[in-house]
């Protein structure tokens, strides 16, 4: 196991009454791609700015490359940041932008030019060294911003939602490019985003952040298949949330009954007793759809419902099905085979899901209150 490049130990930051980052401790291994995923206002930007040194923690310590960063100014930290709006210097050309950090280290002009050109070549922009920043495309600017940071060979590269400003097509393309760049350079990346797809595609490990705390830290697969909190289940990937009360507990199985009387079965996550307020989560692709009961897996509990809308989106197509008795809507993925290509709203269908793949959590006090209200 390689040494940790970033260790946070009980980091706290408060703004007036609001605790932005609440005693966070975590570490990031050398060479890893670590993402912090959370909704806006969850404290991820504050955390990133504390790592960069723009914000001073109220308590706790951040160590980078094994060295405590307490009292170290941003310009003296072995960390570089790719800003949300990239913050390329418009008063300089591309080559000067990349050489800026080298110049601050007192490296001679000839060496500076050589290194910045070599770096631009690695990101495929050697020809653009003399261009002005505003002559570049969005994707090229992105690469210049990364090159400008990586040329300094930082221990840690921080990325503050750098893909947020790009259009969808370019964003998809840049995701792949970022992952390849990280693999090629081997630099430790700490990436913050509110886009779960970015976090899942790019990262080795993802921390899901909410209310200043990490809900869960794990590989993208762990977060997706084994969420440990209802927040993670709801935030990572698409999910159907079914709130109710635990009516039967049978080993790992829980029967959840909604207030309007629909019962489903799910896998219990954590301590759940009969009578507890709970939330069950069923992913759209976990539920199977059928027109005849015979097409469903044999031992599954079948539910009947009516199609309310067909949401065609190529490979990600789903249908909204209203459960027959309660009219509670549930989203179900359409199989890739095109078997349900002719499905129409109003049609009556059957659906079932494997209870082992549906997670059930004890509802949190605030969320339970929201469910009551």
């Amino acid at each position: 196991m390689s040494a940790a490049d970033l260790v946070a130990d009980g980091v706290v930051k408060r703004f007036a009454e609001h605790t932005a980052v609440d005693s966070l401790s975590f570490s990031v291994e050398h060479g890893g791609f670590f993402s912090i995923l959370g909704p806006s206002g969850c404290g991820k930007t504050t955390l990133l700015r504390m790592i960069a040194g723009f914000v001073t923690p109220d308590a706790g310590d951040i160590a980078i490359g094994g060295r405590s960063m307490r009292g170290v100014a941003p310009n003296r930290r072995p960390v570089n940041m790719v800003f949300q709006q990239l913050a390329l210097f418009p008063m300089m050309n591309v080559g000067e932008n990349v050489a800026y950090g080298l110049a601050r280290r007192g490296i001679a002009r000839a060496e500076r030019t050589r290194r910045s050109l070599a770096m631009l070549e690695r990101v495929g922009l050697a020809h653009a060294a003399h261009k002005r920043v505003d002559e570049l495309s969005g994707g090229q600017r992105q690469r210049v911003a990364i090159a400008r940071s990586l040329v300094l060979e930082p221990t840690l590269l921080l990325l503050d939602e750098p893909l947020g400003a790009l259009d969808l097509k370019l964003r998809e393309h840049m995701k792949i490019e970022l992952k390849q760049l990280q693999a090629a350079f081997g630099t430790t990346f700490v990436y913050i985003t509110h886009d779960q797809s970015e976090a899942l595609v790019l990262s080795d490990r993802v921390a899901v952040m909410n209310g200043g705390r990490f809900e869960q830290v794990g590989t993208p697969q762990e977060l997706y298949y084994r969420p440990r909190t209802p927040f993670v289940a709801a935030f990572v990937g698409a999910n159907n949330r079914i709130p109710g009360r635990a009516t039967i507990r049978d080993g790992e199985r829980v029967e959840v009954t909604t207030d309007d009387g629909w019962s489903i079965r799910a896998h219990a996550e954590g301590a759940i007793a009969v009578g507890d307020r709970v939330e069950a989560f069923v992913r759209p692709e976990v539920a199977a759809l059928a027109r005849d009961a015979g097409d469903l897996p044999p031992d599954a509990v079948a539910h009947r419902g009516r199609v309310t809308s067909v949401l065609f989106d190529g490979a990600n197509s789903t249908v909204l099905v209203a459960e027959e008795r309660t009219a509670r809507e549930i989203r179900i993925a359409l199989p890739q085979t095109g078997r349900f290509a002719d499905l129409k709203p109003g049609e009556s269908v059957l659906f079932s899901f494997d209870p082992a793949r549906a997670a059930c959590f004890q509802a949190r006090a605030s969320e339970a209150a929201a469910a009551h209200g």
Binding site: P90, R104, S149, L152
Partner: protein
């Protein structure tokens, strides 16, 4: 075809009407008087109501050391006053644009503007009340035991500079604040993140970004200072030796309009030359500067 032509003529008339006030203003109040002054400056009185074309007025300027001494002194003092105004205004503009922001930013801006509701004469007289020998500040110095007798703080070059900086600060602040406000904070943070210190950020990021604003402010302040009459006269007294006073003397005291006109043109040439020189030195263009600030 004919319809389109009339349409174009109509649009032309509309444009002409819209531009008419500005054109009339420029022609009647600026171009015509200057043409008249130019004619005046290139003639010489040869007898009672008899004039002949001549360069005598300009020759007098170069022959008489007093005139071109005052001329040079005015130029140097104006450049100095402009530089001082920039130095004083820059931190204030920075605070307004980058630190105070929002409501407190506009409050500070208004605080800088308020003195300009009072006429320049009254403001300058205010300085005289503060600085003259029997004034507030000398009395305070005596009271504090710093000097035995109240010193005369008026009629020094420093006093003139003080007055000029005070009078022109607002005209430097406005373009500076607007150019600093448009500077994205993340550029400063990015430079800091890449290892730059405060001084380097100022030199490599802030000043290049604010250059059009700095230039515009300097041009306005320099022109105002060079052509200022009131402040040097009141605060500098007889020692002020400002070139505008020479022009006043020629026109009003000596009634030598020919000489005064020549001086006026020399001052115009001076300000034009120095502005062009300043733009050249900083590698900027006038139109660009005025547009961007």
């Amino acid at each position: 075809m004919a319809e389109r032509a009339t349409g174009r003529i109509g649009a032309g008339i509309g444009l002409a009407l819209l531009l008419a006030p500005a054109l009339l203003w420029i022609t009647l109040l600026i171009v015509l008087p200057h043409v008249d002054l130019a004619i005046l400056s290139f003639r010489e009185r040869v007898g009672a109501r008899q004039y002949a074309p001549s360069l005598a007025q300009y020759a007098t300027f170069f022959r008489e050391p007093l005139y071109w001494h005052v001329f040079l002194r005015t130029a140097v003092m104006s450049v100095l006053a402009t530089a001082l105004t920039l130095l004083v205004s820059f931190p204030i503009a920075w605070v307004i644009a980058k630190i105070a922001r929002g409501r407190s930013g506009s409050f500070l801006f208004v605080a800088c503007l308020v003195p300009f509701w009072v006429s320049e004469t009254v403001r300058t007289l205010g300085w005289m009340i503060l600085l003259r020998q029997s004034g507030v500040l000398p009395a305070l110095l005596v009271r504090l035991g710093l000097t035995a007798a109240p010193p005369e703080l008026l009629y020094h070059d420093a006093t003139i500079l003080l007055g000029l900086v005070y009078t022109s600060m607002l005209f430097m602040l406005i373009p500076l604040v607007s150019s600093l406000e448009s500077l994205d904070d993340s550029l400063i943070e990015a430079a800091y993140d890449l290892g730059a210190g405060g001084g380097t950020i100022l030199r490599t990021i802030v000043v290049p970004h604010a250059a059009p604003g700095i230039t515009a402010g300097c041009i306005i302040v320099f022109m105002l200072t060079l052509g200022n009459y009131l402040t040097p006269t009141l605060l500098g007294g007889k020692n002020s030796q400002w070139f505008t006073e020479q022009i006043y003397t020629q026109f009003i005291t000596r009634f030598n309009w020919e000489q005064g006109a020549a001086f006026g043109f020399l001052l115009l040439a001076l300000s034009t030359a120095l502005v062009i020189l300043g733009l050249r030195a900083t590698g900027q263009r006038f139109g660009e500067v005025m547009q961007r600030s």
